[in-house]
Assembly symmetry: C2
Homo-oligomer: 231 residues x 2
């Protein structure tokens, strides 16, 4: 709370994709309602059904958003890192959180309480537009995810994800930031299957694997696989 009016927080908010380009004054207003909170690794930030009393920005660390099926299987929806906002859906739908959130590492988050924030948006259309862009972006991501989950088989999803990572990391040598178990859940499958598919990808000469490091060998082949979704 001491950091509320901290100059550095204002600055940081302004570097965030959600608030980039906003006027100093509005950033100050934002930081006025913001609270910095810390979560230890594995701590749960909110659970499905919790009332959406506000939303978060990741300041440091990593956060996993996921759902649990009745029989205990987990499906990861997102992994968020520094600068990413999450939990805004509940704020604007005026409902409870539709999924769970836990810290994957010791993390510091900026919490923005719903009511205060809505007031700011009402006073500042640019803020609204910025948020609309973020939500639209997220919707688009989900579209892709539904596409992957319903239209592609595991190898296809895996290939698509590897390509996505290589774009993000802009290199052919990928460092997995997630345990393979987590990656499996993100791809909507289980560790065993993922393991088999990775070996298969290696056997067929698409990639080479050394622990958490994956190198793309045959990018063209991977692209094809991601599209067709079959070996």
């Amino acid at each position: 709370m001491v950091e509320n009016r901290d100059k550095s927080l204002v600055k940081w908010l302004g570097e965030t994709s959600l608030f980039v380009g906003m006027e100093e004054q509005h950033l100050r207003e934002l930081s006025g309602i913001a609270m910095v909170v810390s979560y230890k690794r594995r701590a749960t930030i909110f659970s499905e059904g919790d009332p959406g009393s506000g939303f978060y920005l990741v300041k440091e660390g990593k956060v996993k958003i996921y759902m649990i099926s009745p029989d205990g299987k987990e499906q990861i929806l997102h992994i968020f890192g520094p600068g990413d906002p999450f939990g805004e859906v509940a704020v604007f739908a005026g409902q409870s959180f539709p999924a769970h959130a836990v810290a994957l590492e010791n993390s510091r988050l900026v919490f923005l309480p719903r009511d205060d924030f809505v007031v700011l948006v009402a006073a500042n259309p640019a803020l609204g537009l910025s948020l609309l862009a973020v939500l639209s972006q997220r919707l688009r991501q989900f579209t892709k995810m539904i596409d992957a989950l319903s239209l592609k088989e595991v190898p296809g999803r895996l290939a698509a994800h590897l390509l996505y990572l290589s774009k993000k990391q802009s290199t052919g040598d990928l460092q997995l930031e997630l345990s393979k178990t987590q990656l499996a859940s993100l791809l909507g499958t289980i560790p065993e299957t993922l393991s088999r598919m990775l070996s298969k990808l290696q056997r067929e000469g698409f990639v080479t694997i050394e622990g958490a490091k994956i190198s793309i060998v045959d990018r063209v082949g991977l692209v094809e696989l991601a599209e067709i979704g079959k070996f």
Copy 2:
């Protein structure tokens, strides 16, 4: 185009969930930029990759939003009816449409061009908030959809959907508004499988089926099925 300044269009816009409660003046501004367009059954409204030059409201008729996998399978994302907005994602993400849209029936749509609309939003925060609510709602729907697609088997998805319909229609006797083929695609499966599952549901005494009319017999059982997702 003649209808642009039509009083009835203003009124209709104000009854739309997106714009409900907005001041007369803003509604008039909206109707000033709106265009009413007609599409015949099966006509495509936009395709994946088309530039998002604006978005739509369904005035009359029904619209299907869907994706196609490389090998031709279709996954329906939404079916929209009168009053529903669609295509806003591309507008605010400032990108192209991520999916296809076709008219399921002869339909009349209200088109709102992107640039004009953004100006209005910038001038009117309430409009932004309203849109944020809609997008959040949609995001929440997708969350559920991903949940269903990745965590539940077809019977579970089907049971969940039937319950959803019965809530919407608030009766135990459901009238399917979609062909079973379409329903299959909405559930992320194929007609054959859907057909088998429906027979199975009937055989096990959960529902009775007569053509497009489905009556829920054992609601409790269905709920359980939707949760557990297994017979």
